[in-house]
């Protein structure tokens, strides 16, 4: 019988790093990626037929080229399945995958699993955030990287975080600078945090490059500024904004929103490094520390798996130090951009899938059970199954959305016909 592989889910920086580390140690790897190409969100490559590359920092280009070269060098030990979506683990320990090309679900029993499915963006909802024309900044950036083309027409970028100026600069370099970047936080009010950020040379030189681009393209970057609502307006959107006490209405074609990231954990199997089949999380999916740290974290998880399987490994103290540095940087950034949560207007949509409003969320009993929130509130019951609205609900309720126990599969909606065609690698 063929030796069972180590499963790695997600071929972004953490997954690629984990897969390379394990394959270099001589063990077989099954590498699963939901897209047709590796890269994840951060290292998303241009689509096959497109040669117009989006500008990105040299460090990122180097890092990714290095990872790809390592994967290439041990390709013989890595079984890659692209356009394949991880569906979770069933009650009998089967890891389930939806092969979208073959329209068939398959089950495997790996020796160990490293799940590196990245982060999801956080959104602070406002009336109209659900409209066509409103996109997450990360989603827009992924599209920009793939197509090399910015969206047409006026763009407004709003929310909070380091992604906002980065995306705005990339849009500007691609030929369509946004009309403005609105940052919710007021970093100048947190000088200590800013001072700590200034000590991080890599990210800060990147930030300086973005700032230069924004200045050259005359893109205003306003702090303490938020979007209060959006309404349809012909082909575009009428966006109400507030800067300090000033209210204003902007007419744009695209509104790109983003309020930070958090690990993509909803429904993901719980980490259990000591189980018979060890499960580890890696990268932004474990702790949102960014692309550079994800590479270190992928190697850390792989090393831990190798040690667990009895392979001699070197502990990488430099990796641990790198993760600690990244954590310090993220903490300072969070502190610098901190802003108090705001209670949304009652009509604000919280669950887009089922069309449920904040008023309906607020009407639930404060001690409502998971069942009540889901079935009676219909929150987390739609197609995203709470994977997207869950963090938003948790932030608004001040407590995490109670998770289904055991974690439920499928993690993503799956074709009835594909699941009916389930194949397993067992003799059942």
């Amino acid at each position: 019988m063929r030796e069972a592989p180590i499963l790695v889910v997600g071929a972004g920086p953490a997954g690629a790093s984990a897969a390379a580390t394990i394959a270099e140690a001589g063990l077989p790897v099954l590498l699963i990626e939901q897209r047709d190409q590796f890269g994840g969100a951060i290292h998303r490559q241009p689509a096959a037929g497109n040669d117009s590359h989006v500008w990105r920092p040299a460090r990122h280009r180097r890092n990714w080229a290095g990872l790809m070269a390592r994967l290439q060098a041990c390709a013989g030990r890595i079984e890659t399945r692209t356009e394949t979506i991880f569906l979770g683990v069933d009650s009998e320990g089967r890891f389930l995958f939806d092969d979208r090309r073959a329209a068939c679900v398959f089950a495997r029993r790996p020796r160990a699993a490293i799940i590196a499915v990245g982060a999801v963006e956080t959104i602070r909802p406002f009336p109209g955030w659900e409209l066509p024309g409103v996109m997450s900044a990360g989603g827009a950036q992924v599209l920009l990287k793939e197509t090399g083309r910015p969206p047409e027409g006026p763009i407004l970028v709003a929310g909070s975080g380091a992604l906002l100026p980065a995306l705005a600069a990339q849009l500007a370099k691609a030929g369509n600078p946004p009309v403005a970047v609105l940052e919710r936080g007021r970093p100048w009010n947190a000088p200590a945090a800013l001072a700590r950020l200034a000590l991080s040379w890599g990210p800060m030189s990147e930030a300086a490059a973005y700032a230069t681009t924004l200045a050259t393209s005359r893109v205003p970057y306003r702090c303490g500024a938020i979007v209060t609502q959006a309404e349809p307006d012909g082909d575009g959107l009428k966006v109400g904004i507030r800067v300090g006490d000033q209210r204003q209405v902007l007419r744009v074609r695209h509104l790109l929103i983003h309020d930070g990231i958090e690990p993509n954990r909803t429904g993901i199997p719980l980490p259990d490094p000591d189980a018979a089949v060890p499960v580890l999380l890696a990268g932004d999916g474990r702790e949102a520390l960014g692309a550079d740290a994800a590479i270190l974290d992928g190697r850390r998880a792989a090393t831990q798996v190798l040690a667990r399987l009895g392979q001699a490994t070197r502990r990488m103290r430099s990796d641990e130090r790198g993760l600690i540095r990244a954590r310090g940087f993220q903490a300072a950034l969070t502190q610098a951009l901190h802003s108090e949560p705001v209670v949304p207007a009652p009509e604000t949509l919280i669950c887009r899938c089922e069309g449920r409003s904040y008023a309906e969320l607020a009407a639930l009993a404060p001690d409502a059970s998971a069942r009540e929130i889901r079935l009676m509130g219909r929150f987390g019951l739609g197609a995203c199954q709470g994977r997207f609205c869950g963090p938003m609900i948790a932030a608004l309720r001040g407590q995490p959305l109670p998770a289904a126990i055991p974690p439920r599969w499928p993690l993503r909606p799956v074709s009835v016909a594909a699941l009916a065609r389930l194949t397993t690698d067992e003799t059942e």
Partner: protein
């Protein structure tokens, strides 16, 4: 007149006898559809009710089931008769407003895909007709006009036009929202406390909650509280829910019930790998597809092999499901009694305790009526239907003979 601890005698052997004129206080254990209904009708009659649940409303089988208010699926005998009462109860309360908008009449189609299944469907139809139910024979052309896209293998079908649909958690929520009852979530009851030969309250962790009477309607959690031994068998059912096929109400004009489901309900097959297939078109335009019948399984996990088997059956019966996605899989745990009949009535040797459990897969259909019946028992009134076949007394007799 408000019931007090004096007056009404508990139907059957139990009797309230404490001298006081304050309203009767009932501790109802279990906030599923049965407990919620009992609480609602007790409160409506003036009793004070504390509803206790280890988790919260509809946390058990009530929130993990299909929405069939179906006489068509019942075993011939008392269950078929009681289901007719229970369905009429829904109809009545849909009209009087209590269940308005939550109960919908819809047909059940009993469908056969082989000659043996066709025989079974015919036999079951005859039993339904004998119980007074309207049964309509449907030829394939008519059936296809009603349910476009139905699989080629379907060779015979009966329509039961008077069945209905309601979601257990919605009914539970309505019953609770329309009554003044005290709901305590995260309140697991560990013991029913007896004093001077009758129930005087319950223990919730270390807390004693005094009560004049106790209703045990805690599904599979009932058995440990009753001291009657292993009277309930957990029977897990795995199910899948799809995305919307339409946004304008149910996607198909009736509940599809395969003969394989009847075979399980009539006790013809008893096999943990057997799929009793039902395709339940929900009001949201989604489909709920079930299910397995796994005895002695009380966990809520699902496995891909079983779910895939359910979906293969479902695709054969209704191929348009190929255009749908599964949003989630889940499992409910039915509480089955040893003889397959629910357990409803006064506790055989604990005065002041009434039991309402063991509804297996029929809790949504029977629940509101049985809860109301339990309320009547607690108030010392006679239930609207003869529940003698469900009496917990039979469990004691069985023990003696065993």
């Amino acid at each position: 007149m408000k019931p007090t601890r004096f007056g009404p005698s508990l139907y059957g052997t139990n009797r309230f006898c404490m001298a006081s004129s304050s309203p009767l206080h009932v501790a109802v254990i279990g906030t599923g559809i049965v407990g919620a209904s009992a609480a609602h009708f007790l409160a409506a009659a003036g009793a004070r009710v504390t509803l206790l649940d280890a988790s919260g409303p509809a946390a058990g089988a009530t929130g993990a089931s299909d929405g069939a208010v179906s006489v068509a699926s019942k075993r011939p005998g008392p269950m078929m008769d009681l289901a007719r009462h229970a369905r009429a109860f829904y109809v009545r309360h849909e009209r009087d407003g209590l269940f308005r908008g939550l109960f919908h009449r819809r047909s059940t189609f009993l469908v056969a895909r082989t000659a043996i299944e066709a025989d079974l469907v015919t036999r079951h139809g005859a039993d339904l007709a004998a119980a007074g139910e309207r049964v309509v024979e449907v030829d394939r052309a008519t059936l296809l006009a009603r349910i476009p896209g139905l699989g080629d293998s379907v060779c015979a079908a009966l329509e039961i036009p008077d069945d209905g649909h309601a979601l257990g958690y919605e009914i539970t929520q309505r019953l609770l929202a329309t009554s003044r009852v005290d709901i305590r979530r995260n309140a697991p009851v560990s013991e029913i406390v007896m004093r001077a030969g009758r129930a005087c309250g319950v223990l919730i962790r270390d807390e004693f909650l005094p009560a004049d009477a106790v209703l045990v309607a805690a599904g599979i959690g009932s058995a440990p509280l009753l001291g009657l031994g292993e009277i309930l068998i957990p029977r897990k059912g795995q199910m899948a829910v799809t995305d919307r096929a339409t946004t304008a109400g149910p996607a198909i004009d009736g509940h599809l019930m395969a003969a394989s489901y009847l075979a399980a309900k009539r006790g013809i097959v008893r096999d943990n790998s057997h799929i009793g297939l039902v395709i339940d078109p929900l009001m949201t335009g989604q489909f709920l597809i079930g299910g397995s019948r796994e005895d002695h399984r009380s966990d809520h996990s699902t496995d891909a092999v079983t779910i895939a088997a359910i979906l293969r059956e479902a695709l054969d019966l209704y191929p348009p499901l190929a255009a749908r996605r599964v949003l989630r899989s889940f499992a409910g745990v039915r509480s089955a009694s040893r003889d397959g009949l629910p357990i409803v009535g006064p506790h055989p040797h604990r005065p002041g305790v009434v039991i309402a459990t063991g509804f297996e897969g029929d809790g949504i259909c029977l629940g509101p009526f049985m809860g109301a019946s339990a309320a009547r028992l607690l108030l010392g009134e006679r239930p609207e239907a003869d529940l003698s076949s469900l009496s917990p007394q039979r469990l004691v007799r069985a023990e003696v003979h065993a």
